[in-house]
């Protein structure tokens, strides 16, 4: 199975196998990272699934919707690598993706 690499808020990195078609949030959440609360369950309304994407992958990801952009605007930790992990699905091409869980707002 393809995998992604997740760095926690404490700076520890772990690899996570993913099922293509699942969202990044689902993959991270199911691997029991306590830092990802995902309070809204993936409907783009809580921003507690905020991650930073490795710059080499930013372009490869599906584009951000206006809803995702607006919600990220509300985070004081937004930067150019920010994404909501529930708002994109993982394809086999994203094997090796590296992400970091953003600080809590």
């Amino acid at each position: 199975m393809p995998q992604l690499f997740v760095t926690t808020r404490k700076g520890e990195e772990r690899s996570v196998e993913f099922e293509p078609g699942s969202t990044a949030m689902q993959a991270i959440y199911d691997a029991n990272f306590a830092d990802i609360l995902a309070l809204c369950g993936g409907v783009c309304s809580c921003a507690t699934c905020h991650i930073y994407v490795d710059p080499r992958f930013v372009e490869a990801l599906p584009k951000m919707s206006a809803d995702e952009n607006d919600l990220l605007e509300g985070s004081s930790h937004r930067n150019e690598r920010s994404r909501l992990s529930c708002q994109f699905r993982l394809s086999p091409e994203l094997d090796g993706l590296r992400v970091t869980i953003a600080p809590e707002d």
Partner: protein, 425 residues
């Protein structure tokens, strides 16, 4: 002490538990955050961390019994340490097994993804005008009469029309839906152990959705129903038309009693918490924080259910395969290890949004953003049109000695009726 005095009350049928479930949950919590009930073959989880653990763990816990709980026997005799195959083979015999909330992997995330876009913030934002106009229409009449019964006269039609609008149901059909729902009992009915959860209204509405989906698939337009009817699974395949029918119909069931009852529970806090009504009138921006605290203290879903697929653990407690679990969301929301002064009503709790009133994890209530918007807007309009809101004392008695009837459900927490006196603004 006699056996009688120490015997546990039955969660599923005892009227005193219905009246005050919190007192009962506290009693169970004192026996341990994960506790095997005496009266039924089911484990009750009342601790916050423990509840979270069960909700998160979709590997070991199935949602198949989510709407029937222990009110209905498992259709099989669990064998061994892994009953996954037995659940799979028998799930269609469990009532409610065609509702999204009872699905497991791999069908669950696929089906859920079809609904995601309906609840996008921009779409909900676009509906706010409709919601507030609808609330005004329902309330003007009530205020002119000087009062109303909030649950059935206002809340139920309101939430039914809103879900119909969300899905783009043609206006002419909306009244028919409402009439069908008016006649049905809420899920987890304590008064009917033969049929704890009844689905006839949903079946009636399903007839309409069969037509909508076929029509829109044949000739898609730009409306919400067309978008929904032509949605694809994440892997690009096309869902069966009947699956779309089941999903859309379920939204009416899932969003109706819960939201209507939350409105009633909110109203009770507004009226009976000293100073609160005035505080909210002066500063309506506090309404969202107020709603979160009501969800924590008296959310409209008391519990949900899981069944262990495999032999597993919940923190320190071992759970055998096939064991049913009642996750007491309302108890977790008052766990003293998680919430300071858990029984106190406070508007400024840190991390309040981490309450479990909408569940958590894969099955987290998908309609939570809508429910929050619906209740916020209705409360805002109620305050707008009135200068004072009170209980009708003829129906509910005086403060300190209220007569309140709760919906006889082991799932839903909310007033069956709430008669209000409304003083026009």
């Amino acid at each position: 002490m006699t056996d009688q005095a120490t015997a546990e009350r039955d969660y599923f049928s005892d009227p005193s538990v219905l009246k005050d479930p919190y007192d009962y949950f506290e009693e169970m919590f004192s026996k341990g955050p994960v506790h095997q009930l005496q009266s039924r073959d089911i484990v009750m989880v009342t601790g916050y961390d423990e509840a979270l653990e069960v909700l998160r763990n979709t590997q070991d816990f199935s949602s198949a019994i989510c709407v029937v709980g222990a009110a209905y026997p498992l259709p099989f005799e669990p064998r061994g340490d892994d009953v996954s195959e037995q659940i799979k083979a028998h799930r269609h015999e469990i009532p409610g097994s065609d509702l999204l909330v009872t699905y497991d992997q791999p069908q669950h995330p696929a089906s859920r993804s079809l609904l995601n876009r309906l609840f996008a913030p921009s779409r909900l934002k676009a509906m706010e005008g409709y919601m507030s106009g609808l609330a005004d229409k329902l309330l003007q009449d009530a205020v002119a009469r000087g009062g109303c019964e909030l649950v059935k006269e206002i809340a139920v039609p309101y939430v039914t029309y809103v879900v119909a609008d969300l899905l783009g149901v043609p206006a002419a059909d909306r009244d028919l839906f409402r009439a069908a729902l008016d006649q049905s009992a809420p899920p987890g009915n304590m008064n009917d152990s033969e049929k704890p959860t009844e689905f006839s209204a949903l079946e009636y509405m399903a007839g309409f959705f069969v037509r909508y989906v076929h029509e829109r698939r044949a000739a898609p337009g730009n409306d919400v129903l067309s978008e929904f009817a032509t949605a694809k699974y994440p892997d690009g395949s096309t869902p069966d038309a009947m699956e779309l029918v089941r999903l859309s119909t379920f939204l009416f069931g899932a969003g109706q009693d819960t939201t209507a009852k939350l409105l009633g529970n909110s109203m009770r806090y507004i009226i009976d918490t000293p100073g609160l009504q005035q505080q909210l009138r002066t500063n309506r921006a506090l309404i969202p924080a107020f709603i979160e605290e009501v969800l924590r203290l008296e959310g409209s879903s008391k519990v949900t259910f899981r069944v262990a697929r495999k032999k597993t653990r919940v923190l320190d407690t071992e759970i055998p395969a096939g064991k049913r679990v009642v996750v007491a969301l309302a108890a977790a929301n008052r766990d003293p290890r998680r919430w300071e002064e858990p029984k106190a009503f406070k508007l400024d709790r840190p991390k309040i949004r981490e309450h479990l009133a909408f569940g958590r994890g894969a099955h987290t209530c998908i309609g939570a953003p809508l429910a929050r918007a619906e209740v916020r807007i209705m409360l805002d309009r109620l305050l707008e049109h009135t200068s004072d809101i009170g209980f009708s004392e003829a129906y509910h008695g005086k403060p300190g000695n209220r007569r309140l009837d709760y919906e006889p459900s082991f799932i839903i927490r909310g007033l069956a009726q709430l008669h209000l006196e409304l003083k026009a603004a």
